[in-house]
Assembly symmetry: C3
Homo-oligomer: 156 residues x 3
């Protein structure tokens, strides 16, 4: 027996990683009053950044979008842990915060963060449609090009 | 019959625009457990940025404040949509996130974001008094000088 | 009679300042549906920045961490006001937003914000373990090297 969201992940050919431990002294998510607050996720694969650098200075739009998608995959892995493994308990992806490491001349932050937003809708359907802010940063932890945090509502 | 907040808007000579559609694949607001999360708003008029550039590099403090005020007007338009047209259902503007595109030497982010904060209090009175964070960014979507997101509590 | 958290503060030799008034037209915290949203806090002592400048350009990692700790102390002072003086009413530090003023080459944002995260756990114990995002900014209000906002859940 697998849930609806698990089947969508399988249809997309996505295997969620183990939830990535935080890179410092905090926890990867907190559940409070039916809401899950997921810590800022980086485009890590097996604990290492799969992308480094900045948009507008060496990182292409396509790579930025792939990095954002990786952040989203890691965030969904955290959500799965927050739901004790049952992603069908996610009632709504409420808000996504997208941070793009970029130069001052870069203006396509929304296109970068679409790499994360699109995945949320692919995986959760209408429940994946979220509010969002996308902004630029001079740099991000581990020289990542993208960081993403998330608020979701759980069932019950 | 118009509501109290609608009368305040009229007294201020403010006509809310239609809620601005998002510039990418997400929704302009999500309501969850009595809270509205409004996506990052830009200083758009009729779908185009009314201001572009950065504080400390061509955009004056007065223009930054006007841009922040426009972001706030667009956020209130989203709130109106979230309330099915009845802004009196806004119990409290809870938190405003203000992002200012600026050079490294700029330090007056609070004064810029006051353009948004002042409007919230003018429109909602005491219910418009909010928590806030104001920070700098190297750049923002569409080269906007200001972006603002918002969390509000609804009645009921 | 003092509370558990007050005793921890005393054990740490920490005297909370009076809650710092905001530097602009907003309020230092809003309580909504059992959650406290604390405005962005700066490393102020007696109303003046104890640190100024940027990480990677004159501010050391140790000073950045001390600045983050000061932001956290000021945030706890705001929380105390939100709890009418009884910090034992804080059920959980839910989320901490850490903004680091830095140059583009800086990548140790997590280590800086640990100055705040570590204090939260020292003061609140397990209830102080929070979700978190740490990002870079080209500049922050008053030329502060760190700004921190916070969401907490209250009892009841």
């Amino acid at each position: 027996m697998t849930g609806l969201v698990d089947r969508r992940l399988a249809d997309l050919g996505l295997v969620l990683p183990e939830a990535v431990p935080p890179v410092a002294n905090y926890v990867p998510f907190v559940t409070s009053r039916g809401m899950v607050f997921v810590s800022g996720q980086l485009p890590l694969v097996d604990g290492r950044p799969a992308f480094v650098g900045k948009l507008g200075d060496g990182v292409s739009l396509a790579d930025g979008q792939a990095a954002a998608r990786l952040c989203a995959i890691n965030a969904i892995a955290q959500l799965r842990a927050a739901c004790d493994g049952d992603l069908d308990r996610v009632r709504r992806i409420v808000r996504l915060g997208g941070f793009v490491a970029c130069v001052a001349a870069f203006t396509d932050h929304p296109k970068v963060i679409n790499g994360a937003s699109d995945l949320m809708v692919e995986v959760f359907g209408d429940a994946g449609r979220h509010a969002r802010a996308a902004v630029g940063c001079p740099s991000l932890p581990l020289d990542a090009p993208v960081e993403m945090d998330l608020i979701a509502e759980l069932d019950g």
